[in-house]
Every structure is written in C-alpha cells, then in structure tokens.
C-alpha cells in the first residue's frame, strides 16, 4: 500500500527573473520616450538586410539604433553599421536567444532616451526566443518567401508571441512559386488578425507601408507621422 505523496505547495514562475527585468526595461523605454522593436526569424530569412534598409531609411527623420544578437561573429553588426547609425553586437556564445539581461547590459553606455527607435535583432531561431520577453513594444516575426508557406504552422508559438508578421524577399516570390494566399492563411490560423507586410529590402517593394506602420506607434509624438517617411525606398 502506498501512501499519498506529500506535496508542499510553491508557486514560482521559472522565467520570473527575465519577466521582471523585461518589465523594468519596458517602463524605462516608455519613460524615456523610446520605442523598441524586436525582430525574430529563422537564420537566413533576411533580418539583417531588412534592418539595414530600415535603419538607412528611418535615420533621415528619426534617431535610431540597433542591437544585434548572434551566437558568434560580429558580421551582422558590421553590415548594419553601414547604415551609419549606432549598432552594438550582442554575442551570446552558446545561448540560442536573447534575454532581457543581455539587452540591459548591451545598453550600458548608451543614452537610450536620446533615441526615438531602438531595434533589437534576435538570434536566428524560431523556437527559443518565444519564451523571453525583451521589454520591446513590438515584436516582428519574419518569414522569407524561400522558406515555405507552412512555417507559421510549424512554429505557431513564435508567431503567437509576435505582433506583426513580415514576409521578406518578395522579389524572389515568383522564382520560388511562393503561394502568398496559403502563407497569409497560415499566419491568420495561428494568429488571427495579425498585421502582415510583404516586403523586399532589395527592391524596396512594400517598404513604405511597413515603415509607416512602424513609426505610427512611436511614443515620441512626431507632428507629421503619416508623412514621416519622406522618401520611400527607391526601386532599382
């Protein structure tokens, strides 16, 4: 005969430390009037290319900067630095995602309050970043046309943790026979009403709508937000 197990009730959120720190960061960003946008996607979906273009276009009107996470190398930071805005690499070593503490450490020495927009590029990974709040206002999940339309169904958790979906490399859509209708339906299945933007950082297609959406939610009120992006991406 076995006796009932003796249970001692405790209720502890395992990710509390990260959640508390992320909340503190979010409060700090709000108080300083800085909007924070993070990007998550699988490796090679075009985060860095989109971000480089985004930074180059936004810096005409806004004070922008970026943090970029990677397991190793500073290649992405070097690419982003070409946009001429402050960029800092967060090298995570063996850790496959960014955590709030890494963001906080990376911001040391930066006057965050002097920024209108701070971008955080997460490590390329569709799984682990979903669990970690970074204190961002908006999380963009990216899916390139070369990856397959069913990515949202395969990684529903990351799509669910994000606010906006960006379909990238649209200039290649025809070449890879990308099924746009299926991709949009799959996104809506896992995250109903999620705003979606189709862009090509290379050709500039769709960049205008996407950028206007980003600046619409800025904490620091700009007088002419609707026309904020004075020169949309040039299509070459």
């Amino acid at each position: 005969m076995t006796s009932e197990p003796r249970l001692l009730e405790v209720r502890r959120n395992v990710l509390k430390q990260n959640d508390v720190l992320a909340r503190a960061l979010r409060d700090r960003f709000h108080a300083q009037g800085t909007s924070v946008i993070s990007l998550v996607s699988s490796p090679g979906s075009g985060k860095t290319a989109l971000l480089e273009r985004t930074l180059t276009l936004l810096k005409k009107r806004y004070r922008v900067a970026a943090l970029v996470g990677d397991l190793a190398t500073e290649n992405d930071a070097q690419r982003l630095a070409r946009s001429g805005v402050p960029v800092k690499q967060i090298t995570t070593g063996t850790i496959c995602h960014l955590e709030a503490a890494m963001v906080e450490r990376a911001l040391e020495g930066w006057e965050v309050g002097e920024l209108d927009l701070l971008f955080i590029e997460n490590v390329g990974n569709m799984v682990c970043p979903a669990s970690y709040d970074l204190g961002e206002d908006l999380r963009l999940v990216m899916l390139s046309v070369t990856e397959g339309e069913d990515k949202p169904l395969k990684y529903p958790t990351i799509f669910n943790s994000a606010d906006v979906a960006i379909i990238t490399k649209c200039d290649l859509a025809a070449a890879v026979e990308f099924d746009e209708v299926a991709a949009l339906a799959n996104i809506q299945a896992v995250r109903p009403d999620m705003p979606v933007f189709l862009v090509s950082a290379k050709s500039g297609v769709g960049m205008d709508d996407y950028l206007q959406f980003l600046v619409r939610g800025l904490h620091r009120n700009c007088s002419d937000v609707v026309n904020a992006i004075n020169s949309p991406a040039q299509v070459h």
């Binding site: 197990p5 249970l7 395992v14 990710l15 979903a130 669990s131």
Partner: protein, 114 residues
C-alpha cells in the same frame, strides 16, 4: 535549445525552496503551457542533467501539460483550443486572441520524500 538553462533555473528555485523549508525533495511539479516555447521531452532530459551534484539529484520532474485556453469573444466564454495551429473558437468559429492559459512555466509544488 534553451531547455537546459530552463532546467537549471527550475533546479535552482526548487533547491532554494527546499533549503529554506528544510525538506527533502522527491519530485518537482511543474505546469507547462503548450505555448511556453519549451519542449517537454528536452526539458525532462535536461532536468536530469541539471540535478546532477545538487541536493535534487535523483529527483523527478513531474510535468502537467496546460492546454491553450482562450476567451471567445463570440460565446463570451473561455474555451480550450484543440490545436495551436488554429486560433478559432471550436464552437462558434470566432477568431480568438486573448490567451488565458497556455504560457505557464510554473513550479507548483515540491513532492517530499516519505
């Protein structure tokens, strides 16, 4: 894979609680939401590794799966989703976005050695 670092946090927290209450732990009970972003099998494996050399060595991790529960704006009721690939009410078909449960990653209890 971030399950090892999560397992290490679980072990740290459980160890802290056990030491504070001067108890010996046979198992740690955990609620794991379907949307937590944590893979159960990887977590169970990682837990064994993370326990090594601590007072929790040899203890079990008992995982209770928490399904996704949403608020349906059509039925005005909470509903359990059958799939995380379909965020629509199983009864009326309304789009649901307000998640009530499913993101849990919570230590709920320590099971004590008899």
């Amino acid at each position: 894979m971030h399950e090892l670092s999560i397992a290490m946090s679980i072990v740290d927290m459980a160890q802290e609680e056990a030491e504070r209450r001067s108890v010996q732990v046979d198992a740690v009970h955990l609620e794991l939401g379907a949307l937590s972003g944590v893979v159960k099998e990887a977590l169970l494996f990682s837990y064994e590794v993370a326990c090594g050399g601590t007072i929790l060595e040899g203890s079990r991790l008992v995982v209770k799966d928490i399904p996704i529960e949403v608020f349906c704006p059509g039925c005005k009721l909470s509903k359990t989703l059958k799939s995380m690939q379909w965020f629509y009410c199983p009864d009326c078909g309304a789009a649901t976005s307000e998640i009530l449960h499913g993101k849990e990653l919570i230590i709920t209890a320590l099971e004590l050695k008899q």
